[in-house]
């Protein structure tokens, strides 16, 4: 029974993962990816990893919501009314993807990992907690500090106020001599980026 459900969920996660790059709207794509993650979370719950499974669903629901927000913010076509295809180096990518999947698949089929299933009466959630705040505390805390650094870095990177003025007004560093030429590389031409936007229909 568990085997059948796991198989179905595995098929579902691959199918929805494939749909991410086939649907015509980015909002659909991001929620398709969310379904893929939810299926993986479901597999986790079925395979007696309740915390990991449920936490995956929780994390990914929030993350994909953020993704959808950014899509509506940046994309010229958030709803997906017009057909669109925004791909480059298509043949090479297909080849790389197929080679990666086939290679890993062959490795899976040719190897025989040991069969040592988790005991059904093990208290895995408590074990995880003791591991996180016990033997592996250094790893866990490193992850925490990395996340903090990420937060600081993300805020600085996305801040509108730059070192030499507002980022969206073509900020220029001060000159090397008083009233001299601005230091740093000169922009090619001012509004070039505007024509790019939406040009790759």
């Amino acid at each position: 029974m568990t085997d059948l459900l796991v198989t179905l969920l595995a098929a579902f996660t691959v199918w929805t993962g494939w749909r991410v790059f086939r649907v015509d709207s980015m909002v659909r794509a991001s929620f398709s990816l969310m379904l893929s993650f939810i299926a993986v979370g479901g597999i986790g719950v079925l395979l007696s990893a309740p915390y990991i499974g449920v936490a995956t669903v929780f994390m990914m629901a929030v993350e994909m919501m953020v993704m959808a927000i950014f899509m509506v913010m940046f994309m010229m076509n958030p709803a997906g009314l017009n057909p669109m295809s925004m791909v480059h180096q298509h043949r090479f990518s297909i080849g790389a993807g197929v080679v990666a999947a086939l290679g890993l698949g062959a490795a899976v089929l040719l190897s025989s990992p040991p069969s040592n299933p988790v005991l059904s009466d093990a208290d895995v959630v408590a074990e995880l907690g003791h591991e996180l705040l016990g033997p592996s505390m250094l790893i866990f805390e490193t992850a925490g500090v990395t996340l903090l650094a990420t937060m600081v870095g993300a805020v600085i990177l996305s801040s509108r106020q730059g070192r030499f003025g507002n980022a969206d007004e073509g900020s220029r560093p001060p000159g090397l001599s008083p009233d001299g030429e601005p230091a740093g590389r000169k922009p090619d031409n001012g509004g070039e980026g505007h024509h790019h936007h939406g040009g790759h229909g």
């Binding site: 568990t2 085997d3 198989t7 595995a10 098929a11 996660t13 993962g17 991410v20 790059f21 980015m26 991001s30 990816l33 893929s36 993986v40 597999i43 395979l47 990893a49 915390y51 990991i52 499974g53 936490a55 995956t56 993704m67 950014f70 940046f74 994309m75 925004m86 791909v87 480059h88 090479f92 990518s93 297909i94 790389a96 993807g97 197929v98 999947a101 890993l104 698949g105 990992p113 069969s115 040592n116 005991l119 093990a122 895995v124 591991e131 866990f140 992850a143 996340l147 990420t150 937060m151 993300a154 805020v155 990177l157 996305s158 980022a167 969206d168 090619d188 980026g193 790019h196 936007h197």
Partner: protein, 101 residues
Amino acid sequence: MTLTIILLGAAALIGIGLYGALSQQSFVMLMMGLELMLNGALLAIIGFWSLSLGGMPEGQLLAIIVMAVMAIEMAIGFALIVAVYRKRQADMTESIGTLKQ
């Protein structure tokens, strides 16, 4: 048998993710490809932990680390997208070709 199915699923997810990361022009879609590859890794970790490692707590720790990696990738990725968009009004990989030089 279950483990083989799970690992084949994970291999397929990593392949699809690699295809997406290499082929998409839009930054956000490109990041979805990366997320999909991490999804495959997460699936493989859950499978190994549950069926092959006898429920070693370190396996769950690894899954948590993968989730942290996803969160970091998202945060820094979107911050970079916002920074590039502010500078160039662009959300496509082609528009920052000057990075090559």
